[in-house]
Symmetry: C2
Subunit: 420 residues, 2 copies
């Protein structure tokens, strides 16, 4: 089914336009377009078309653990809450937790996300059924190497094979957890497998000071250098967090072409101590994306809120109110500064039809002196009225057909899993 | 008209209750209440009753300037944007800007706020017509003393007289702007007038490091000491910001019984450099409230978002994920830690009927492991379905009768005023 968006506005224009969508792509944008016969017409009067947002780092199914132990010391939280609950998770639980996450992302304007979690097929099927796009990986943890490493590799190879069954909206991703939970042997295997099959890699890096200290102690070098020695700093690699990177590590990441994804809310909530060195990374031309992390450490998936935290914490850290202006925060949240995040969200003929229609005529976005400032500093994800991904309408007038069923199912599974 | 809330839940209970409201106050809460004849019945099935929130520091009418120059150096912003625009403001403009602010506060759960701005009557009438409660003051700026000071005092005295015409929802407040914009002579007069008529005082204090340096240079002491020497540290005084207070100043504020209001979003956005010393102030028993500041430096009035910033920036500053837990942030936002902010928002018989009904069955508040955690870390003001203030329903099912008219009027006035 093709789609014709009637009477919308673009961010930088006042005259209404029509957008013609064919076979999941934007066919044309113009003031004088007329719809072909047999096309679905969507009236967008009073609404503005903007790109969809991209969440560069999350653990979607952890919506099941939202509010299940906040404000706790990390190890107590993991040992008494998260690990026992995760041990009870089935593939089906992950499916429903991820469906809940996808609902929330649709409702707050995220068209694509990078995920890392257990139970690949539960996650991939949830992306498939929700209509979103995602990079999906089954997390690899292998501290010891040896037989555990071999088993991890077999699982990754098998999952890669099986992942072919999903549509192009699901991108198989290699997801070694972190340098302190994956053996050098498995990191090298990941680098090789990624190169051989041209696969993206998604890994946590330099989130805490403890990780840096431990890496120096065990390997004699800082985390980015350690990763590079395993061959795992390449243009295919996405590094989540990067809070404690020093200047030499940033130089190395820039030289290798890897992408950094910052998660300001999670970093503050878990009190990792540092602030992501945005200015230094941007000055080196490193591609930068924005992530929410999982809801257990956020506790929502709203990139509108995340953009505001991103801009404000950088102003604070740089002691400069002009640092990281709204327009930059917006570009980062759209994924425009990091091609590895999928190159979605471009409003131009030929691009994938992944876009939002927003009602700017809301109380918190009045007056309309500056649309982007309103979106970054004043709005939340509730500004989104309609989401279209790959040419398909996933939400219209804030209504998603199976929302109640998903919410109900996820809630009852969460209650069962999260018993203390 | 009396009101009977049918079938709601309280935060810490699972069984439904009824709430009977008479003459603007909560008459009874119980499982077996039956409505009197001639009472308006409000069905709250599926909803939870929670206290309304209190905004301890804002400049409501500045909604007109939302997004009108962000990310700019302070002086350039004031000189090229705000001051020229403020010079054009009429009493009527302030009325409509404040009505827009009140709309936004109703939609995000704020039942009471402390305001400081120009054109007292425009502001007070907006509070009156919106149905909210507020402390309202006409800002006093008098750098030179002498004739300017005398004129300021006459205006304050006259405004105080005229303020008697408003209902008890409008509380007249003395609002000297700051120690660097008001002469010692006028600060002393304010202290005296406040004592004589038992009036609250609302003043900015210690927002920037520059203010501290200037105070040391001109008066030889730090800001809180200077204020105390003018007799203006009392239990009737509300101090907004307090970012750069040192330990001795906190001791002094605690000894005098003054209230501090922190504004985390504004402090980050304007890059004032420091973080409000929450832990040190709380340890001394200083009453603490939460404010959004005006929308020109936020850019919204959503205390749900402000609570999250409050908790997260304190965890960061204290380098401790257990610092300022959700339940504390919630208490602060309800005004429960600062009686000077109006002692509203208490759900008990005899208290003013100022409360919210929220739909917890929303995507971003699922699952329901912990209601308060969900409200602080996951929700936004959009979780509010119904607001009741002084027993009157101001919003129900997120509908406010005159919303469109107010939004339209404020928008066209903002466009006229904000010409560069």
């Amino acid at each position: 089914m093709n789609l014709f968006i009637h009477n919308t506005r673009l961010p930088d224009a006042t005259e209404p336009v029509q957008i013609s969508i064919q076979h999941g792509r934007i066919a044309a944008i113009g003031a004088d377009l007329t719809p072909l016969p047999d096309v679905e017409i969507l009236d967008a009067g009073g609404m503005t078309a903007i790109p969809g947002l991209v969440n560069g780092h999350t653990h979607a199914a952890m919506t099941l653990f939202r509010g299940f132990g906040d404000d706790m010391p990390l190890m107590e939280w993991l040992q008494t809450r998260i690990w026992p609950a995760e041990a009870r998770l089935s593939q089906e639980d992950v499916y429903w937790g991820a469906r809940l996450a996808c609902l929330e992302m649709i409702r707050s304007g995220t068209v694509r996300f990078e995920d890392m979690y257990w139970h690949f097929h539960g996650m991939a099927q949830a992306v498939e059924d929700s209509g979103l796009r995602a990079g999906v990986g089954a997390v690899m943890i292998d501290v010891a190497g040896g037989e555990q490493a071999a088993s991890c590799r077999r699982l990754a190879e098998q999952t890669f094979e099986e992942s072919q069954r999903y549509s192009e909206r699901v991108r198989f991703t290699l997801t070694p957890h972190a340098i302190y939970t994956v053996s050098p042997e498995s990191l090298r295997w990941t680098a090789d497998f990624s190169a051989r099959h041209d696969l993206p890699v998604h890994i946590h890096l330099s989130e805490t000071r403890h990780e840096v200290e431990q890496c120096l102690q065990h390997h004699g070098v800082r985390p980015a250098v350690h990763l590079d020695r395993q061959g795992l700093l390449t243009p295919r690699v996405l590094l989540a967090h990067g809070v404690w990177l020093d200047e030499a590590e940033l130089d190395l990441i820039a030289a290798r072409g890897a992408t950094l994804v910052t998660n300001p809310v999670s970093n503050l909530k878990l009190a990792v101590g540092g602030i992501f060195p945005f200015e230094k990374a941007a000055a080196r031309g490193i591609p930068i994306g924005l992530g929410t992390d999982g809801t257990a450490s956020n506790n929502n998936l709203d990139l509108f809120q995340e953009m505001k935290f991103l801009a404000l914490i950088q102003k604070h850290a740089q002691n400069d109110p002009t640092a990281l202006p709204a327009h930059t925060a917006w570009e980062v949240a759209c994924g425009h500064q990091a091609p590895l995040l999928g190159q979605t969200g471009i409003l131009a003929p030929g691009a994938a039809a992944d876009l939002l229609l927003i009602h700017t005529a809301q109380v918190e976005t009045t007056p309309e002196h500056d649309l982007i400032s309103n979106l970054v500093y004043a709005a939340t994800g509730h500004v989104v009225d309609t989401m279209i991904v790959a040419g398909k309408v996933l939400m219209h007038q804030r209504t998603i057909p199976d929302e109640e069923e998903i919410r109900h199912e996820a809630r009852s599974r969460a209650a069962r899993i999260c018993q203390i």
